[in-house]
């Protein structure tokens, strides 16, 4: 035990840095992913078929490919296409696209559940479509989107562990490095799992609170 606390003290900054990077990556990818998802979701619900078909194909493709394959593809392939991104950047890109596709489906589902008469009503009082979207549709859709959105945050924290495979120094890779030095697999993998659990548990709690906040009274 004393050995473990000593090793933990030695590794404290590595772990803290890793955890920070994990949180940063998750936040950045959920931010970019939400924007992509919003565009995809609105396009899927209200676009003409010319817009809808390619988005549908893209979303289905991304959803049918494992995240790890997405990450590895963006890591290896973009370099060959002449785009030089760092491991973090290509990982972020893959996670954002993954998050975007899932958010797109979620937002489409929420928007479709709003009666079309709402659009007609908006039009009747002279609103343009962007305004109808912002003032009429999205606030109502928010009730369905919010709890799932926060859940997606937890999914992204979990998916960010996959970036360790392409050498991004987030929490899992840091743990692997520490374990490689002191061979205390049980303690440090256990600790790593616990840290992830705590982060996600907080997100889950927050999601439940938000769900209650947005629920119909």
């Amino acid at each position: 035990m004393e050995h473990f606390t000593h090793e933990l003290w030695v590794a404290r900054w590595a772990l803290a840095e890793g955890l920070l990077l994990t949180v940063e990556i998750s936040l950045a990818s959920i931010f970019c992913g939400t924007i992509i998802g919003l565009l995809a979701g609105v396009g899927l619900t209200y676009g003409t078929w010319i817009l809808r078909t390619p988005i549908r194909a893209l979303v289905d493709c991304v959803r049918g490919i494992p995240v790890l394959v997405l990450i590895l593809t963006s890591f290896y392939l973009l370099t060959f296409a002449g785009i030089n991104l760092t491991a973090i950047e290509s990982g972020l890109l893959a996670l954002s696209v993954f998050c975007g596709a899932h958010m797109g489906e979620i937002i489409r589902g929420a928007l479709q559940s709003i009666p079309r008469t709402q659009i007609d009503a908006g039009r009747a009082i002279g609103l343009t479509f962007p305004r109808i979207l912002v003032y009429v549709l999205l606030p109502q859709a928010m009730r369905q989107i919010m709890p799932v959105w926060i859940n997606t945050g937890a999914e992204l924290v979990k998916a960010s562990t996959l970036l360790s495979v392409i050498g991004t120094g987030e929490l899992l890779l840091r743990t692997q490095e520490i374990v490689g030095r002191n061979f205390m697999t049980l303690e440090f993998y256990g600790l790593c799992g616990l840290l992830y659990f705590l982060v996600n548990y907080l997100i889950e709690r927050f999601g439940k609170l938000a769900g209650r906040h947005f629920a119909l009274q």
Partner: protein, 219 residues
Amino acid sequence: MGYSFQFGVIEANLDKFLQGLVLGLALAFAAIFIGTLIGLLCAFATMAKAQTPSRLVGIYVSAIRNTPLLVIILFVYFALPQLGIRLGKHESFVFSLAIYAGAYLTEVFRSGLAGVPRGVIDAGRAIGLTGFQLALCVISPIMWRNCLPALGTTFISLFKDTSLAAVIAIPELTYQARKLNTETFRVAEAWATASVLYLATCLLIAAGLRQLERRFPKF
């Protein structure tokens, strides 16, 4: 920089890709089978009147769902031997994916159970069925039908998760693609092939499940 596609390498190694895909499917199948048993057991345990099973299941589900699968895989593969539990690569992966699947499937089955009408259960009790008969012949069929859509999504996502087996060097599809990528530098071809194979398999599973849903109309 010019990059010209050469699918010859893929053709020569197509058997490896397909073997990888089959291995992935086999891993997924084994894990889903065990996971379904865990899920059923846990879901029915929450129906018990006593509080303890419910609480234990809650802890299990919350702990597993909030931990990344990759961490679970690495923990089972690298850390459990320290406790004297030594598993082979494949066994340890199936074990990890099964407990992961179990947690998700518990949730799925639980919501399926919640959708079983109270009256049907009371009716079963009224004609004198024992608890076991009630669960097997009355509750289960309705529950399975209720969970079919969610079950499909979970199965597909578990199949996609077998790509993580590449991290502990199990030669499934992602591993094969990565190997070919580093050996021949046919980057685009390798990843395109892997992506297409994953995509096709997922679509196939989805289509099969849709068929199943149509076959058994909603209760």
